[in-house]
């Protein structure tokens, strides 16, 4: 245990995802010996990001305005919608440059253990978006793990009866993993080779 505020800093850092007690301590001491200007800039960004960043009212992606950059871009194909779990998946897919449609960010995957059911995800918003018939294909790009698969199956059963083309990324993604960890080439290929789901 360190004295007062130093320990507070270690505790706060330790609460971040992927940061264990050892790393928290390392980061804390790095900050203590860093240039005060650098640390102030970091603090500033942390405060601003919380104040400025919101979620796009259309797709749920992070945005600095009412809607995100992608939803505002008229060059994006309005007939194809790619459904992902998190904003970071949008970034991963954008990197591949394979996809020219728009996104819908669910905010997670179905996981009863964590108390996440369909109501906790942005599924109602998805259904509202699809109501006008402008979208003809929905690509389910949830993570290639059990919860991602469960979510994709759930959505397939919901969307198929609406007469939409429902596709899933081609296999080849590392099973059990996270979309964001797939490299560009693999993810790009998975997009290209997407296939219609039949349940």
């Amino acid at each position: 245990m360190y004295e007062g505020i130093v320990q507070d800093l270690i505790d706060e850092l330790g609460r971040l995802p992927g940061v264990g007690p050892k790393s928290a301590q390392r980061i804390a001491f790095h900050l203590l010996s860093a240039d005060p200007v650098d640390v102030r800039r970091l603090a500033q960004v942390l405060v601003e990001v919380k104040e400025r960043v919101r979620f796009c009212s259309v797709c749920g992606n992070v945005a600095e305005e009412e809607t995100c950059r992608i939803c505002r871009d008229p060059r994006r194909d309005p007939s194809v919608l790619c459904v992902v779990e998190e904003s970071k998946d949008v970034v991963a897919i954008e990197r591949t440059r394979e996809f020219r449609g728009r996104y819908h960010v669910l905010g997670g995957a179905i996981s009863p253990i964590e108390g996440i059911g369909p109501d906790e995800l942005r599924i109602r918003e998805l259904m509202t978006r699809l109501a006008d018939g402008a979208v003809t294909e929905v690509i389910l790009a949830t993570d290639p793990n059990l919860e991602g698969e469960a979510t994709a199956t759930y959505l397939t059963r919901l969307l198929k009866p609406m007469g939409l083309r429902v596709t899933r990324l081609a296999s080849g993604l590392p099973v059990g993993g996270d979309l964001e960890y797939a490299d560009e080439v693999t993810l790009g290929r998975a997009f290209e080779g997407r296939r219609a789901v039949d349940d």
């Binding site: 179905i110 009863p112 253990i113 109501d119 059990l146 698969e149 199956t153 059963r157």
Partner: protein, 382 residues
């Protein structure tokens, strides 16, 4: 296959240890608590990535250290490979082969295969159904490593589905399950049935193959003098629902799916999954009687040994010779069983024996002797 060098870093009681090994029999001898089991446990860990003594990795790391490293130089078909596993409790372990990292530690499974006998084996016979399911699944993974993934996925789906059922039950009293309950449950049913059928059919095939070997091994271990004909040891896989007479995965999946549908009300009421391979039992019988509750202590031990010997025979018939580990078992057995077990395993490519008292180890198995005293490992020159 055999291990020629074992080195430990912060594993169990060892801060640092280097042990040179040879093919054939090696016995580690020393008083209790000196670190004999810790050594052979490390060899077994390299093979199975889990320990026979504990279910979590934390106790494997030396008290006060935060990671353990086990390295084993293994010879297989005349070629040597260096396997290395870094045990990081609470985080993912890391594995390397000939210094090259593997994407996931799990990919090291199956490179080394071990069959371990230990005093805890009596629970195979006397313990709960879960002990026998674990026996089958562990063997399944040694036989085909991809089942480690199937089993982990099945457990995860089971936990998700149980959480869903429990939520529904807890809400049930007041408002009834929420409007999405049925459609969400169907999704998990699908996954449970698909993974469950994969696990179940693999277990069925395993029991088909293992049954005759267990019968033969039991006869070899238990046959006493020339007494009247003895009862056969037999195995039977008893599923938690009526199984179709087939090993076809799709047929089994559909049957499991139908059963989930049929038991739905029951499951919602109890808030837990009632059908699937996690509720199955491996029945062990001697002639017409079950072993559990009927067999004598000696017969129970013979049966437990027969299960391990049969595992060894099965693995050997499908690949190279697994490493045999006999951890402190001789002290548990009477002289006759000791002698017979020793005869049966003496010819294996590599046998690692631990014993507190050297005299407990039958002469046929004494082999090269290594003394373990206070965490110091020293080959005895004789």
């Amino acid at each position: 296959m055999h291990v020629v060098r074992l080195s430990l870093h912060d594993f169990r009681s060892y801060a640092e240890a280097e042990v040179a090994l040879e093919p054939g029999v090696t016995s580690f001898v020393g008083r209790n608590g000196q670190g004999k089991t810790n050594l052979v446990e490390a060899v077994d860990y390299i093979a199975r990535l889990s320990s026979h003594r504990v279910s979590s990795d934390a106790p494997l790391v030396r008290h006060g250290a935060d990671q353990a490293v086990v390295r084993a130089a293994v010879v297989r078909d005349g070629r040597e490979a260096l396997l290395e596993i870094e045990i990081n409790p609470g985080r993912s372990n890391r594995a390397r082969i000939n210094r090259a990292p593997l994407p996931r530690a799990r990919e090291m499974l199956g490179l080394v295969r071990t069959v371990l006998f230990s005093p805890e084996d009596l629970t195979l016979v006397k313990g709960d159904p879960s002990d026998r399911r674990r026996f089958l699944d562990d063997l399944l993974v040694l036989r085909a490593p991809r089942y480690a993934g199937v089993r982990a996925d099945y457990d995860r789906v089971l936990r998700q589905r149980n959480a869903l059922l429990k939520n529904a039950r807890d809400r049930g009293g007041r408002r009834g399950p929420d409007e999405h309950f049925d459609s969400t449950l169907e999704v998990w049913n699908q996954q449970l049935a698909t993974l469950g059928a994969e696990l179940l059919t693999a277990r069925l095939v395993l029991v088909d193959d293992l049954g005759p070997l267990v019968g033969r091994a039991y006869e070899a271990v238990a046959q006493t003098k020339n007494w009247a004909s003895r009862d056969d040891a037999n195995l039977e896989y008893r599923a938690s629902f009526e199984l179709p007479e087939t090993r076809d995965r799709v047929v089994v999946r559909d049957a499991l799916l139908a059963e989930l549908e049929r038991r739905k009300a029951d499951e919602v009421q109890r808030g837990v999954s009632l059908v699937g391979p996690h509720r199955d039992e491996l029945y062990l019988g001697l002639g017409p009687l079950p072993v559990k509750g009927y067999a004598s202590h000696g017969e129970s031990w013979s049966f437990a040994l027969a299960l391990r010997l049969a595992s060894y025979d099965l693995l050997r018939s499908e690949g190279d010779d697994p490493i045999l580990i006999l951890d402190d078992v001789f002290a548990e057995l009477d002289t006759e069983r000791r002698e017979r077990l020793a005869e049966l395993v003496a010819g294996a490519e590599q046998v690692l024996v631990t014993a507190a008292v050297a005299a407990d180890v039958p002469a046929a198995l004494r082999g090269r002797r290594v003394d373990v005293v206070d965490g110091k490992v020293a080959a005895r020159a004789d």
